[in-house]
Symmetry: C2
Subunit: 356 residues, 2 copies
């Protein structure tokens, strides 16, 4: 193993890997032996380090606890049957976390630190990445930035930590998702930070999500906050609708996350010969399509599950159940993307990034 010249590495003396049951993982609960950490202070990012996975010690007045200055990314590493590990479009994650940071007034990170840090971390914890496309075996990677300066003045922090932690995972959703379209609560404001992958965009969804879960649904499909008439995203997924044989998804905006899986789904669908329209989708149009049978499929896209088929859509007191058509788009697109991710198909678009 080569040692990076950029990153200071301290290896653990006690690997936890033998204590882990890789066939019975709970999503996001088990973490690998190491973590990447880089401090920002005195106006610049300091020397990045890889350390044994360990708790953070922060002053109770640290700004992240009070003012939510925190952004993150979600990405995955996959191991092929030859034992090679691959990342999927990591430069997109790097660019997006910096866009999120900018909106939250967090200093942008350094590309070499990010890519080399990821590479070193994944080499060190390579045994934690299990092959097995059918089981959905992968390593979920969570880069995040938190404001660590002590002090309760409501102003941007002068100190931050950029951290990467990794969690071995299996397939995320097993059943079709039941969603309810928002008609009162909202996720993001016009001129707000809905497009940022920011901590503050998530906490606000938990209560409205709990309300729909009490009615038997899994997630909320968020709509615009003005009229609740435009379908936007699901909070942890972008959303797609197949109307007749056209795949439709709304354009991204300052209210909607620019999903990397979303982009990949659009590109891959077109490669598979599916017509894709990126345009606004109204609740009225969706209801009409659901009622007249032209709504053939719907699914969410995101890093965790790639594609999560939606089986039930509700709006106010109306409920529609979707039956998968024989020429199921979501299954075809999901398989095509997974085949690239697990290195069993040609990487036409240059999406794969080898860990080496």
């Amino acid at each position: 193993m080569e040692t990076s010249s950029l990153i200071k590495v301290t290896k653990t003396e006690n690997s936890k890997i033998n204590q882990v049951d890789f066939d019975n993982l709970v999503f996001g609960k088990t973490f690998t032996d190491h973590m990447f950490i880089c401090d920002y202070k005195d106006g610049s990012w300091q020397t990045p380090e890889i350390l044994p996975y360990q708790p953070l010690t922060l002053d109770p007045s640290a700004k992240v606890f009070h003012y939510g200055q925190a952004v993150f990314e979600g990405m995955k590493a996959y191991k092929d049957e030859q034992g090679k590990a691959w990342l999927f479009r990591p430069e997109e994650n790097f660019e997006r976390i910096n866009k999120s940071s900018k909106r939250l007034n967090i200093p942008e990170f350094i590309k070499e630190y990010f890519l080399e840090g990821l590479n070193e971390l994944l080499k060190l914890d390579s045994a934690w990445i299990k092959s097995g496309q059918d089981a959905g075996n992968a390593l979920y990677i969570r880069p995040f930035v938190i404001a660590t300066q002590a002090g309760v003045m409501a102003s941007p922090s002068t100190e931050y930590k950029f951290i990467i932690i990794c969690s071995p995972v299996q397939a995320y959703y097993t059943k079709d998702v039941k969603v309810k379209i928002a008609d009162y609560y909202s996720r993001a404001a016009n001129g707000g930070f809905g497009a940022a992958k920011a901590a503050g965009n998530y906490a606000g969804q938990f209560y409205p999500t709990k309300l729909v879960q009490e009615e038997g649904y899994d997630q909320v499909i968020w709509t615009d906050d003005t009229n609740h008439e435009h379908l936007e995203e699901a909070g942890t997924m972008n959303i797609f609708f197949r109307i007749n044989d056209t795949l439709v998804t709304c354009p991204i905006s300052e209210r909607i996350l620019d999903g990397i899986t979303r982009k990949s789904v659009i590109t891959m669908a077109e490669k598979l010969g599916i017509t894709v329209e990126v345009r606004k989708v109204t609740v009225t149009e969706l209801i009409e399509a659901a009622n007249n049978g032209s709504l053939k499929e719907s699914f969410g896209s995101g890093t965790a599950a790639v594609i999560s088929p939606i089986g039930t859509i509700a709006h106010k007191d109306n409920v529609w159940t979707l039956t998968k058509p024989e020429d199921c788009y979501s299954a075809a697109i999901k398989k095509a993307i997974l085949d690239v991710q697990y290195n069993v198909a040609e990487d036409t678009f240059g999406w794969r990034y080898e860990v080496k």
Copy 2:
């Protein structure tokens, strides 16, 4: 000193108080010797503790870092010239933090723990509360709740910490504030959580605030996100306008914090014989009033400064400067509220709460 039966107290062996220059405090940077902390786990709040002020140790996957499940309060304790310490409407802070918690799916806290915890903490750190109304000497109190469960699944935490830390402060703003009215960025969505004192409402303001600061202003006056036509709040302050001899402030809503100082200003202004109207205020109305001279005063209200007079208001390319009238409402209301807070005036409304 009585010992609370509810709270486990561990006193510090090394007070830091002699190291503090109480005449040169930076807002929110110095903390007292002790902190209050109460853990939520296994479905209930555990025994509260008062401990020496100390760092928090959290797993890097703790939900507060990723999903922003965090709420807080801001309040103050004042010492009168007889050496008695007083809180100002603490039950209002308790009710509001629970409202904020509910919107963020955080379990509500227990009133006795809050009030008795505050009381014990302030008794223990009583020497940190300095008298001196003219210097604005006070103890700023920051109750907050953070989600501490380890795990990166985007779902509500099952574990929390309710913490209270205290910081000695002096008068907050010294100069009149320069504000610019938002015409692109927004603070809160309809159906969002703008009314909650939640961490996620603050980080999103830093970047737009930086942009106006680069133009020479201090703060943004936020408007509705649909048309930017209704004046709402300043992010850390509610706002008031004096049009001719009427004091006007917008009603609270799900986008606007229900400020305790705002309520107190309304009540106190009426007691002083000032006509107060709680109604929507449009940008158009404000511009008209600024142009025709009927806008006599404007100020923000909040715990930190009680009242911060606004000296300059800008909207797009227009700038208005306000000169304080001789019968200045803001100064009269501020003095009347401070006189209650520092126990030099009668407490007609039952706002004071003695620490004993």
